[in-house]
């Protein structure tokens, strides 16, 4: 009998448990030394408004389960959208068969770091369930923001969007773990573009962030707090002014990155190179390796200046990378990655941590029931410093303030990067001056972070959400968080592009 996941909660939960236990038992009977099963349902709704018109309203639900096994020291994984007893048996058998095939080209036998069996339930804390808000109310919020942007003369294109999801998942393992989670994530953003009719140059400004939207694990109140409509005119005006702004000059100077750009810098040059599977070469066939080789975890490798402290923390309230347990059943936790500039830790899984003599720190996540869980960022953050933004700017004699990411490029070991931002201002004698356009900067990761000499305090610290981090084959899109405040970097090459 197929499972109707829209049935009353108790029957749904029983069906999920029964399915998971059936698959788990069959896999064990077939010889698996380790088994875990995830049963999931994810519902997502989204609204897009473009140029004054509702472009689309979408609603989708996807549910299924997967079985992950170790047989003969090798991994096997299989998943299916069909959730009935016969399919549970088929998928369990398939996972075991795949593991046996993996063992034909085996490396060292898989060893898992220890884990005490986990039990419990976690639900995203929130005030307003986004699915309970009337659709026309959500549409109107975006239309109001759109109207505010289009009220500015010269604005040619406008986008407003929101997306929210609910994910219900059950995890069981042959070690006795059984955890259930109900996770919500929400996000929204607006952007306005101005077009020069003569040159066809386009300049865009986004709020609160680019990269599709700012997002977090929260309720609808997260979107309401963005106050999108009251920022629409401002970003429209900035987009128009950018067309006439001078080009960012080239040279070596001091830069101040705003919170969103600092967060993106952390994601690309910190978050990815600390993924231990990447470090160990497991992503070499797709996205590359890492310069943070295991010999650098020696207590001496200088990643950044003394004031640079980085953490991976899946417990931060509202962070997009926040949960109760990762997808191996390891409890959410906080790990020091860089302490006073010294490299101190990786993002790890139960099978990679033992390779360097450590225990998993709960960084394994899959983007859906379909896909294999793998090491992903949780909330990888630059810890706040001591400066106010006003004081930081006032103490900068000559430099450039850069705001919100426009482009990114980084090598396959995460060393050499180049980023572009939407908007920049000269800083002269402690004051913001001319607006600049097409600002870019480049650097080498440890040298760049070694030049960090000021970080704003917790008043300026926000957990920024990256809802579209890609990794893995088949590709997965993960939601990651990054706490960041504006920060200053010295002796940085800027203005490396050509227009």
């Amino acid at each position: 009998m197929p499972i109707h996941l829209f049935q009353p909660e108790n029957r749904k939960k029983k069906y999920m448990r029964d399915l998971a236990n059936r698959a788990l038992n069959i896999a064990q009977q077939l010889g698996a030394s380790y088994v875990d099963v995830r049963v999931m349902e994810r519902t997502t709704e989204g609204i897009d408004v473009k140029n004054g018109r509702v472009e689309g309203i979408s609603s989708g639900t996807s549910s299924g389960f997967n079985v992950r096994v170790i047989v003969d020291g090798a991994w096997g994984f299989a998943s299916s959208a069909n959730m009935d007893d016969a399919e549970a048996e088929r998928v369990a058998k398939q996972a075991v068969q795949i593991a046996r095939a993996s063992a034909l080209v085996a490396g060292e036998p898989v060893i898992l770091s220890p884990l005490t069996p986990q039990h419990g339930f976690y639900r995203t804390p929130m005030q307003k369930d986004p699915f309970s808000i009337p659709l026309n109310q959500k549409v109107q919020l975006l239309l109001d923001a759109d109207a505010a942007m289009r009220s500015v003369q010269g604005v040619a294109l406008t986008n407003s969007n929101m997306e929210y999801s609910r994910e219900h998942k059950l995890f069981v393992s042959s070690e006795g773990s059984k955890v259930e989670q109900e996770l919500y994530d929400v996000g929204a953003a607006i952007d306005a573009s101005a077009v020069d009719p003569t040159s066809s140059e386009i300049q865009t400004r986004s709020y609160p962030n680019s990269s599709s939207r700012q997002a977090g694990t929260s309720g609808y109140e997260f979107i309401e707090a963005m106050d999108l409509a009251n920022h629409g005119a401002r970003i429209g005006e900035e987009a128009v002014k950018l067309l006439a702004a001078p080009q960012c000059p080239s040279g070596v100077t001091t830069i101040i990155l705003d919170g969103p750009q600092t967060a993106l810098q952390v994601h690309e040059s910190c978050g990815h190179p600390i993924e231990l599977d990447r470090v160990l070469g497991m992503e070499a066939g797709f996205v590359g390796k890492s310069f943070l080789t295991t010999d650098k975890l020696n207590g001496h490798y200088r990643y950044g200046s003394d004031i640079v402290n980085l953490t991976a923390d899946a417990t931060i309230p509202g962070g997009l990378g926040t949960f109760g347990w990762d997808d191996e059943g390891v409890p959410a936790q906080r790990t020091a990655i860089v302490i006073n500039g010294i490299f101190s830790g990786y993002l790890m899984s139960r099978d990679t941590a033992p390779m360097i003599g450590l225990t998993s720190n709960g960084c394994v996540r899959a983007d859906s029931w379909k896909r294999l869980p793998m090491i992903r960022m949780t909330n990888v953050s630059l810890e706040p410093g001591t400066w106010t933004l006003d004081d930081l700017i006032a103490s900068t004699d000559d430099g450039i303030y850069m705001s919100i990411n426009k482009s990114w490029s980084i090598d396959d070991r995460r060393l050499n990067f180049q980023f572009g931002v939407e908007l920049a201002y000269e800083v002269q004698h402690g004051k913001l001056g001319r607006m600049l356009k097409n600002a870019t900067y480049t650097g080498i990761t440890p040298q760049f972070w070694g030049s960090c000499d000021a970080i704003c305090n917790r008043d300026e610290w926000v957990v920024w959400g990256t809802p579209n981090c890609g990794k893995g084959e088949p590709i997965q899109t993960m939601r990651t968080g990054h706490g960041a405040a504006p920060a200053r970097f010295r002796n940085v090459q800027v203005g490396v592009g050509r227009w």
Partner: protein
Amino acid sequence: MYSNEKSVRALLQKVLSYSQAEQTEVVYLGAESALTRFANNFIHQNVAERNHELRVRAIVGKRTGVATTNRLDDQSLQRVVEQALEIARLSPENPEFHSLPEPQSIVPAPGFSERTAQYSAEARATSVGIIVQLAKERGLESAGALSTETNHVAVANSLGVFAYEPRTESECHAVVMADAQGSGYTSDLLPMPPQLTSRRWHAKQWKRPSVVVTPLISQ
């Protein structure tokens, strides 16, 4: 998973019968895929998935609503049709919309290989094993992936359109590394010829690393 034209047609007709919209379109996407991934000269990830998705587009005047689900029980099918209709009723008009398409003749585009559809986990591992063995023999490090996929795609609408197409695809890519002395890359869309399992095929596919790349940064 619905994996033949007769069963898919019956499914889509059922969904259309549930709809109260003025016009309705249903798209079925069924997929069965597998991927064997290797790095450091061994298989470290090996996966298979089976999924299907139904997309319903409901038309009310010039208003459109779309909803998707991968639940194919009757209750879920009725629900997704209702959702699409609800969204359509709440959506603003699109003045550029005229109608869903009417039936036209469709030219088949054959793209299904039974051999690819049946390519087993053992066969994928054997093929990967040849790449790995060749790399090992040369003191090199290999990484990459070999994948196969079978798709069943169909569309039907309330104006009489029905189209169905099964298709398969496969792909293999590999990076072979020699530390600071260079690397080589190859990829191929495979028709899964018998010679895929031959060492000769693999030897043709990638060249011995020959370019010395001076590191830009001393580490």
